[in-house]
């Protein structure tokens, strides 16, 4: 029987069967979210701690809602506001939290590998909610779920990931997952934002967006960090959006039934033109809805038995 391990640290550790298990489980969780009473007693008596070292209202809320819909007790700790975390090492914080005997810790941290460090130390399950530019596995799973909802399968699809690949944990987890599930992946962006060895991951690098989306089934636009401009990774927002932003004109190169996705929050008019944002191609809100279902599925699979 297919099962998950103690933790969910990254897509890297998952087999295609485990990925399918999560996606299938999320289907029934989504059904719970559609009910009038959006709550089941599955995780009653279990404690989930959201430990966020980086601000992220949207991901934290999604985990919080997921836990609550499964009747878990959910506690939020964010590094900025909490004395549990201030000045403490991650190790010490982990030990302190362990003393509260949580069943699951959801960790968002700026350092790659921080969830691995915590997972090695603590008996509780750990879910990686984003570690540096390394992995963001729940985002990749919810993206896969959303694509599968529309296209039935990931197998054989051509998916373009465009933007700042170098600094994107979303890109890394998605590349890994999509390749494992039989999709073809192209990455696109200025060379300054695409790692030199990206093709060794099994993707194709196509620098110009028009060419990259030729015949694409799915286009994932990544959020651009405005502060990267200072590091000269790109010359100006204006030039970035002109060459690497998606608009109706460029979209002609993609398939007619192309899906446009974005992990959010979107810089309106930078990565995606306003007209496309409000078009039926764009399924960003589905991603948000499905995020809760995926996180419920993971909580259930990790600590529900």
């Amino acid at each position: 029987m297919v099962m998950l391990g103690k933790d969910l640290l990254g897509i890297h550790d998952l087999t295609p069967d485990q990925i399918s298990l999560v996606l299938d489980t999320a289907l029934s969780m989504k059904e719970v979210s559609a009910r009038e009473i959006k709550k089941v007693p599955t995780l009653r008596g279990k404690t989930v701690i959201n430990l966020f070292y980086e601000p992220s209202t949207r991901t934290r809320t999604s985990f919080e809602l997921a836990g609550k819909r499964l009747s878990a007790d959910v506690i939020n700790i964010s590094a900025g506001s909490s004395s549990v975390v201030k000045g403490e090492t991650l190790e010490d914080t982990g030990r302190n939290l362990q003393a509260m005997n949580p069943d699951l810790i959801v960790l968002r941290h700026a350092s790659a590998g921080a969830p691995q460090l915590l997972a090695k130390m603590l008996p509780s399950s750990i879910i990686n909610a984003g570690d540096g530019a390394h992995e963001h596995p729940t985002q990749a799973l919810l993206d896969a779920f959303t694509i599968r909802e529309r296209k039935q399968t990931l197998q054989g699809l051509t998916v373009v990931i465009a933007g700042d690949i170098t600094h994107s944990r979303v890109a890394r987890s998605n590349i890994d997952l999509l390749l494992k599930m039989g999709a073809t992946v192209r990455v696109c962006g200025p060379r300054t934002m695409v790692p030199l060895y990206i093709e060794k991951m099994g993707v194709t690098f196509v620098p110009r967006l028009e060419e990259a989306i030729e015949g694409a089934d799915v286009i994932m636009m990544l959020r651009i960090q405005m502060e990267r401009q200072r590091g000269s990774l790109f010359p100006s927002i204006r030039e970035y959006s002109r060459f690497f932003g998606l608009n109706r004109e460029k979209l002609k190169h993609a398939r007619d039934d192309v899906l446009i996705m974005h992990p959010g929050p979107v810089n309106r008019g930078v990565e995606i033109s306003p007209e496309l944002l409000d078009s039926p191609y764009t399924i960003i809100l589905d991603q948000v809805t499905n995020g809760v279902a995926i996180r419920m599925a993971l909580m259930y699979l990790l600590i529900g038995k």
Binding site: L90, E91, S111, A112, G113, G132, E135, Y197
Partner: protein, 428 residues
């Protein structure tokens, strides 16, 4: 009191000696080397039967960090010297990045005096080229040399300004001081925590490109040629650096270079588990780089193997990878890891020992590193077949930050003799 070392395989790379001989030591000096030495009645207090063992000049490590003064919780001159002796080293050169920096005679004097009192091996201070390792103003190099500094290096940092580097080399030349270069363009490597390569692409961690090393290796060789004073390139880690050095040597440039055992033993794939014991500067590189380092050792482009022993406590190492300090300890694993090169037919045993004895001695201009009558009795006796597992509790170093914990090693020093006295013996 005399010491007679009998029937060992005496390997002295400096004189191309490799045969079974006896060696007589007295009064801190090698008296005689030959077959079947007969010492006068009652003159020999001690005898070592070295049958089946290798008798080599005492190993010399030209690149260590001893952390005293300032960070004695990581390592002291005493504990560092114990680690050195256990690893077969009779002389170690210690870098200037202590707290305070060894950029003035008072610190050099402190190191020399502490070592004389507490160290069981020869400790040779390397002083800073610039004050505070800031790359701006020259340290008082004349006085540093007078006080006992054997070489100069801003190790840990690169002198970013080519002009300051030129002046530093010119001033060092005035006092005939060897200069060792830590090569890292700090803009190209800014924020980097591991090699820029395939693993860093997967791990999403900021890479340190080989380019950041190579551009400074090339620059420092160019400045060295211009000034007419040789440089020694520290911890070479990339194929590109090896190529640049090889080309320079072929042109007759007087440049020497070292690498460290981890650069020919591990690749950047070792970082995948986020173990901070795989984090050092320069970082572990790719498989191709590892092969190029071995080729550089084989063809003589790389003259010296140094440990770059860099102790850190759990405070600096049991943290997130990107927040961890750079550096690993190496004094107690260098010899065994290097002996792998002999088993892999990269080097002969004599070539390997040359890179750990006479060649580092020449870089520093030391009258050490060879076995001949009249030389200092710094001798390392090695059992190349001795097998053991690296375990934290058996390491002499105060710090245990090594990626080789748990590794099965083959070959180790069984006696380390400094000035005729045993600084270490495996079975005391």
């Amino acid at each position: 009191m005399a010491l007679l070392i009998r029937n060992g395989r005496v390997i002295d790379p400096a004189s191309s000696t490799d045969e079974v001989l006896d060696l007589l030591v007295d009064d801190g000096t090698i008296r005689e080397i030959g077959k079947d030495i007969v010492a006068g009645e009652g003159a020999v207090a001690d005898e070592i039967d070295a049958s089946g063992l290798v008798v080599a000049p005492g190993l010399i490590d030209i690149h260590t960090h001893l952390r005293e003064p300032g960070e004695e919780y990581k390592e002291t001159i005493q504990t560092g010297s114990l680690a050195a002796a256990a690893g077969g080293f009779t002389s170690i050169a210690c870098m200037a990045n202590t707290k305070p920096v060894n950029d003035n005679a008072a610190v050099t004097k402190f190191i020399v005096e502490t070592a004389a009192r507490e160290a069981c091996v020869n400790v040779l201070p390397v002083a800073a080229i610039t004050k505070g390792l800031k790359g701006e103003h020259l340290a008082e190099i004349g006085e540093l040399k007078e006080t006992g500094a054997v070489a100069l290096s801003d190790d840990g940092k690169t002198i970013a300004s080519a002009q300051v580097m030129r002046l530093g080399l010119e001033y060092a030349k005035t006092f005939s001081m060897p200069v060792m270069c830590h090569c890292q363009d700090e803009e190209l490597s800014a924020g980097g925590v591991m090699n820029e390569g395939i693993p860093s692409t997967y791990l999403g961690m900021r890479g340190i490109p080989p380019l950041s090393e190579e551009i400074i290796v090339a620059r420092d060789i160019a400045i060295s040629e211009w000034v007419g004073h040789p440089v020694h390139i520290a911890h070479v880690s990339t194929a590109g650096s090896v190529r640049i050095l090889r080309e320079a040597k072929a042109r007759g440039v007087r440049v020497t270079a070292e690498t460290a055992p981890h650069y020919f033993t591990l690749t950047d794939e070792a970082v995948a588990g986020f173990s901070t014991s795989t984090k050092m500067y320069p970082p572990l590189r790719s498989r191709e780089d590892v092969e190029a380092i071995k080729e550089g050792l084989r063809d003589g482009t790389l003259d010296v193997i140094a440990s770059d022993h860099a102790p850190h406590s759990t405070l600096e190492k049991e943290v997130e990878f990107d927040k961890a300090a750079f550096g690993i300890i190496g004094l107690e694993t260098s010899l065994a890891l290097s002996l792998e090169l002999v088993r892999d037919s990269v080097l002969t045993l004599s070539q390997l020992l040359g890179k750990m004895t006479i060649q580092p001695a020449r870089v520093l201009g030391l009258d050490k590193g060879s076995l001949r009558a009249g030389a200092d009795a710094d001798i390392t006796i090695i059992d190349p077949e001795f097998e053991y597992t690296v375990e934290a509790h058996s390491l002499q170093s105060k710090s245990k930050n090594t990626p080789f914990l748990g590794r099965q090693l083959k070959g180790r020093a069984v006696y380390t003799i400094v000035g005729g006295k045993a600084a270490f013996s495996l079975n005391p």
